[in-house]
């Protein structure tokens, strides 16, 4: 996280408690965070400082989110913008991207997910696309699509493979059910089934059964994460 200290993030959010939460969370991840409580203030700050990222609530007073986004984009086409929205129709989302948002997050969100998206936006590019993913003694070969733990081959179904790959790309990070659904399935599975839990349970039995160290962990109320076990 050496780089993170240099990153400066602008949060435009009128709901004081929400901005405080985001600020607290991001600060503890060693980002520098400025908060603007309305659109005008947000615009002034965005034009005054070279931010690395803007987190923008769509419904802020004085200047609405979309207006602010348009004004910012006039001068600065590079600033990554993550939009927080309470709207979730496909229409609204498409409109957001048309206005120049880079990503969005629907309220209520898990902070872990916000953090993931922030990191993904700041990273942009150097995504790990090497053919082999490693987490502790677990190894996933993207070319042959084979998975081994401590050299022992594990047979996975297509879904389990996609799930494990997603976990391993995000080692040590908590993935919410929402993120997993959107990434491995799609939105039509959202909100109804316990599908994630079932698949994770199966994946876990294949990966962790018979091993004293359990790599795939449940984070109660939030989601799942994979641990290498190197530090423990």
């Amino acid at each position: 996280m050496g780089m993170a200290a240099a990153m400066r993030i602008l949060v435009v959010e009128d709901e004081q408690k929400v901005s405080a939460l985001i600020k607290r969370g991001l600060t503890s991840e060693r980002y520098a965070v400025d908060v603007a409580a309305d659109g005008i203030e947000g615009l002034e700050l965005a034009e005054a400082y070279p931010y690395d990222l803007m987190i923008l609530d769509l419904m802020v007073p004085r200047l609405t989110g979309p207006e602010l986004l348009q004004r910012v984009r006039r001068n600065n086409t590079f600033l990554p913008v993550l939009v927080l929205t309470a709207l979730d129709s496909i229409d609204d989302k498409v409109r957001l991207f048309e206005l120049g948002a880079d990503d969005y997050l629907t309220k209520p969100f898990a902070f872990a997910e916000l953090l993931m998206r922030v990191k993904a936006l700041l990273r942009r590019g150097p995504v790990n696309r090497s053919s082999t993913l490693r987490v502790g003694e677990l190894e996933l070969d993207r070319l042959t699509q084979q998975v081994r733990r401590a050299g022992k081959r594990i047979e996975l179904t297509a879904k389990e493979y996609a799930l494990l790959e997603y976990f391993m790309q995000n080692e040590e990070r908590v993935l919410s059910r929402n993120m997993i659904i959107e990434h491995v399935w799609d939105q039509s599975f959202d909100g109804i089934t316990n599908i994630v839990d079932v698949y994770v349970r199966h994946l876990r039995s294949k990966v962790d059964d018979g091993n004293p160290f359990k790599m795939i962990r449940t984070v109660r109320g939030t989601g799942y994460t994979i641990r290498s076990g190197n530090e423990t």
């Binding site: 309470a86 969100f109 297509a158």
Partner: protein, 490 residues
């Protein structure tokens, strides 16, 4: 001609009125004509009789019979028969005009006056040849005590003839008038009704997609103009109500989601506190799970309300239901496997409907998820895609606990749960089937359920079948292909 159209009803009604009016009018004319003709004939006969008495019989006593015959022959010559005239003294005929010619009536056969009741009155007689004639008889009392009868008469045949032709004209004219009035009226009615037809067609279209359209205002200044204006005002109010509803949905979701975000955030930061006792972690975890569920409910409710009021934009592309089911079941296989439920798909041939692949997939997910949820270990869930006439049918059948008959009509209601305990424990929102229903509705279809309690349930949806021309059918939504990854060993 539609039986129930306003046009035919109005036409029928006024034709009836017209027919009654014509019959009454004809009857009045007929009776009137008959009375008038008879009266004038009688008037003429009476005048003639009295004229004969004052002109010839009064001076008869000092002028003598030959004078009478001479005078009368001059005034009423023997060949002259209109009216017929006869002067008689007892059984002796003093003078008599000739026979009637048109029609022929032999007057010598007409009996001499004998009945007291005939005096100073009209009586009818049937001539030997069958004609009806009318006679007027006046007795003249001479100073010498003798009684001379003057009779005048005429055939009623000319009157009858006139009346017959009048009747004929009426019988012919009435139906012709009625037919002309019917055709003319029906055609005429189409003119004022044309705006109504246009109004109806446009009104049908309003609200299918959006309310934006207004009805044409009929500038006639009459009831129809007021109707079209009133309808437009109604559409405006509907539009306002919908806009209000939309604003409410957006506001409500925003207002509910912001506190949810805060609750979540606070709990998540709480969980970061090191060395919390397990029981506290347990509580926080539970609270987090419930906040997730509440978020799901808010999300689902918004989806339904947007679908219901047509706010949610949906794609319109040909979608093969068989592909949708294949991909979806592929994603859900493990759910069934875990409960040892055999999940089968019986695909028919490619079955296309017009719609939104993601939404249709959501239908399959919800129905299959439900079926698996309510089926015991070792049961069976089967999915069938078929067509029936112009309908595409997707059927999901399970061998689960079923639904009590009384609960069947309610299962699509929001938050309805047939089995409270079970569904809550499995973490549902109680909105899955409502979403299915809402999606079916926006696709112009419907969803149905039937069940035998304890034996299982069948849910099926019917959507308008899309008949594709032979080769256009490979255009399947690429969204369906995401998350499909070839893996060896599968």
């Amino acid at each position: 001609m539609k039986r129930n159209s306003l046009r035919s009803r109005v036409t029928t009604f006024y034709l009836g009125m017209l027919a009654i009016a014509l019959v009454v009018f004809s009857a009045a004319v007929y009776v009137g004509a008959k009375t008038f003709l008879t009266r004038s004939l009688e008037q003429k006969l009476r005048n003639n009789a009295h004229a004969i008495i004052s002109d010839y019989l009064v001076p008869l006593e000092h002028k003598g019979e030959p004078w009478l015959v001479e005078e009368m022959t001059e005034s009423y010559p023997p060949g002259y028969s209109d009216p017929f005239v006869r002067v008689s003294l007892g059984t002796r005929i003093l003078y008599q005009s000739g026979d009637m010619h048109d029609p022929f009536v032999s007057m010598s056969k007409v009996p001499l006056p004998s009945n007291q009741r005939w005096f100073n009155a009209f009586h009818r007689e049937t001539a030997a040849s069958g004609q009806r004639i009318v006679l007027y008889t006046v007795p003249f009392h001479g100073t010498n005590g003798s009684v001379i009868f003057v009779e005048t008469g005429a055939s009623v045949e000319p009157i009858r003839r006139v009346l017959r032709s009048l009747l004929l004209i009426m019988l012919l004219a009435t139906p012709i008038i009625l037919v002309v009035a019917a055709v003319g009226g029906y055609l005429l009615m189409s003119q004022p009704l044309k705006p109504v037809v246009v109004l109806t067609e446009r009104a049908e279209r309003v609200g299918r997609k959006e309310l934006g359209e207004r009805l044409p205002v009929i500038p006639s200044g009459d009831e129809l103009e007021r109707l079209s204006l009133a309808l437009n005002r109604m559409i405006e109010r509907l539009e306002q109500a919908l806009a209000h509803n939309h604003r409410f949905s957006a506001d409500a979701s925003h207002e509910l989601r912001t506190p949810l975000t805060i609750i979540r955030g606070e709990l998540e930061s709480l969980i970061q506190v090191p060395s919390l006792p397990n029981s506290v972690m347990e509580c926080i975890g539970s609270a987090l799970e419930e906040s997730t569920r509440m978020a799901k409910i808010v999300h689902s409710l918004m989806t339904i309300s947007r679908l219901d009021c047509g706010e949610e934009k949906i794609e319109h592309a040909p979608v093969n239901l068989v592909d949708v089911v294949n991909v979806t079941l592929d994603h859900m296989g493990l759910l069934a496997e875990e409960k040892h439920i055999s999940l089968r798909f019986y695909p028919g041939s490619a079955t296309f409907v017009m719609g939104d692949a993601m939404r249709l997939k959501q239908i399959v997910v919800n129905l299959v998820d439900n079926a698996i949820k309510y089926t015991q270990d070792g049961g069976e869930v089967s999915v069938v895609v078929t067509t029936e006439g112009e309908k595409a049918i997707l059927r999901v059948t399970d061998t689960g606990i079923g639904i009590p008959a009384g609960a069947l009509p309610l299962v699509f209601d929001r938050f309805y749960r047939a089995d409270q305990a079970r569904s809550r424990e499995s973490g549902g929102t109680g909105l899955g089937l409502s979403i299915v229903k809402a999606i079916c509705t926006v696709h112009g279809g419907a969803v149905f359920a039937e069940s035998v309690e304890g034996k299982g349930a069948t849910f099926w949806i019917e959507l308008p079948l899309l008949r594709l021309d032979t080769r256009v059918e490979t255009n399947v939504d690429p969204m369906l292909e995401t998350a499909r990854r070839p893996v060896p060993g599968r």
